[in-house]
Amino acid sequence: MSLTDLSASQILADLNARRVSSVEVAQAFIDRIERHDKAIGAFLRYDASAALATAREIDERRAAGKPVGLLAGLPVAVKDLLCSKGDLATCGSKILENFRAPYDSTVVAGLKKADAVLLGRTNLDEFAMGGSTENSALGQTRNPWDTTRTPGGSSGGSAAAVAARLTPLAVGTDTGGSIRQPAGLCGITGMKPTYGRVSRYGLVAFASSLDQAGPMGTSAEDAALLLEAIAGHDPADSTSIKAPSVAYSKSVSQPLAGLTLGLAPEHFGPGLDADVDAAVREAIRVYESLGATVKQVSLPHSKYCVATYYIIAPSEASSNLARYDGVHFGHRTDERAMLAELNAERQKLTAAGDKAGLNRLDTPLVRMYRRSRSEGFGPEVKRRIMLGTYALSSGYYDAYYLKALKVRRLIRQDFDAVFQSVDLIAGPVTASPAFKLGEKVDDPLAMYLVDLYTVSANLAGIPGISIPCGFSAGGLPIGLQLQAPPLEEDRLLRAAHMFQQATDWHTRRPNLP
């Protein structure tokens, strides 16, 4: 078995026992990136020499018997949405194509403190808006299981990188399913922690009440390790929870006796692909064979989750993305061309005697904002900004945004009620396996519906994990989603690990060209 086929936990054991060096590990994954990433496009950029320099320094410290961090020598890929001081953070957008972060996000600082070897930056849907990574303005990522299909999104680059074993670990972000959905479509393990469990400081904001960074790897054991390195209260993030830190990597291998799983009929409706339904039900039977009991539960507001999400998330996005104005950072339009355009319009209106038109004409500053933003943002980002601006505007705020916030509370109450009688909710993570590139780009609403089973966890703030549980007839991965009450990441990881001890879906690998 080659080094890159090992799990992160196995590699770490070898590193700690000095059976292998950090440099050898980094080089092995760099070799795979160089050999395979052209066909997959998981990485936007990677810095082999910087990674090897970090690895070398860690090897020296280990050899000298000095203390090393929790992930010492393990390569980690990071979604290009998390600030790393001095590095580009493009967010998959032309508007930040040349933006270098002036500070470290708390997540990246945590990875550095844990002595992770930062391998490179992964592709994403622009500003995390999308379910296929097709909205990236800077590159295309393909599903390693079938390169004519999407890896899902928005953390498609991170998911593809792990699935193709270009990295043992990756950090993604999840606002409406953007870790769990691509994890499901790429056959890997991905988790969205409880809202507030992982700091959002330096995580470029899409929707501030929904965003969470989380771990992606080939197993729950590996996800536990990465989560432990990045979770925790952060005074720099006022939405960060002050909960005691948990040694997830130590507890993950302890099975849970007397587990009760809840199945909601709302998750097994008519739109569910037959192969997905069969694989998920088989996974439930595995849990029953491990001693779990299954209970029917109901989440009555499930059908309203996507609509609720697609008011709240764009509304928050319209506010968060107002900062991209061509003034403080990012793309600014060509001012000379902009002034010429304005002049031409002014002359035309003057010649026509259009006083009202002249009055309404943009000032240079406003025109600069409008052109810079329109040149820099892609169509999906514009669509969501428009949707959010509309939902928040005078006359519509109560009917849309405020209404959505009330339905959000009803959705949360559904989960609170269900968790009174079950430990976890189990179901499919997506209604169907990976779809073809280009299939949904012209139908925004169809694209939004890929988030059907995942948005509710973000709305409710609860943690969720996606683990591989089978394959479609066409050989595409299928993911099982488990959801838990707030702050029960430990329960999720242990339950996921139980499944991975009894099955081997998570060890399957795509055949790469």
Binding site: F99, P102, Y103, T194, Y195, G196, S209, S238, T239, H301, K303, Y304, V306, A307, Y310, I311, S318, A322, D325, V327, H328, F329, G330, H331, E335, T363, P364, L365, M368, Y369, R370, R371, R373, P379, K382, R383, I385, M386, L387, T389, Y390, S393, A399, Y400, L402, K403, A404, L405, K406, V407, R408, R409, L410, R412, P444, L445, Y448, N458, G461, P486
Partner: protein, 96 residues
């Protein structure tokens, strides 16, 4: 109620976006479809429900009122498209 082109133009100004003719037509149709889908929330009776803006309802998260070093101005201005070492430079706001 279908979204009108005028409404979309107005929203584009609020959003500080400038849409081309094709974008305006496409956007009007797409937003209309999405808003139509979203309107199903009107089916629910939420008269006595408190809005929930944040899933973890924290309040009054303060830090001690102590001054401390911030990021260097030069580092912040380094990301600006147009700056003079002290300020961000933009087209004139007041006057012609």
């Amino acid at each position: 109620m279908p979204l009108s082109r005028e409404q979309v133009e107005k929203v584009s100004l609020l959003a500080r976006l400038q849409l081309s003719e094709e974008e305006l037509v496409l956007m009007t149709a797409q937003l209309d479809a999405i808003v139509g889908y979203i309107e199903q929330l009107g089916e629910l009776d939420t008269e006595h429900v408190e809005p929930m803006a944040h899933p973890i309802e924290l309040s009054d998260v303060f830090r001690p009122d102590q001054s401390r070093p911030s990021t260097e101005r030069s580092e912040i201005l380094a990301t600006a498209p147009h700056a003079d070492g002290q300020f961000y430079l933009v087209p004139a706001v007041l006057g012609d």
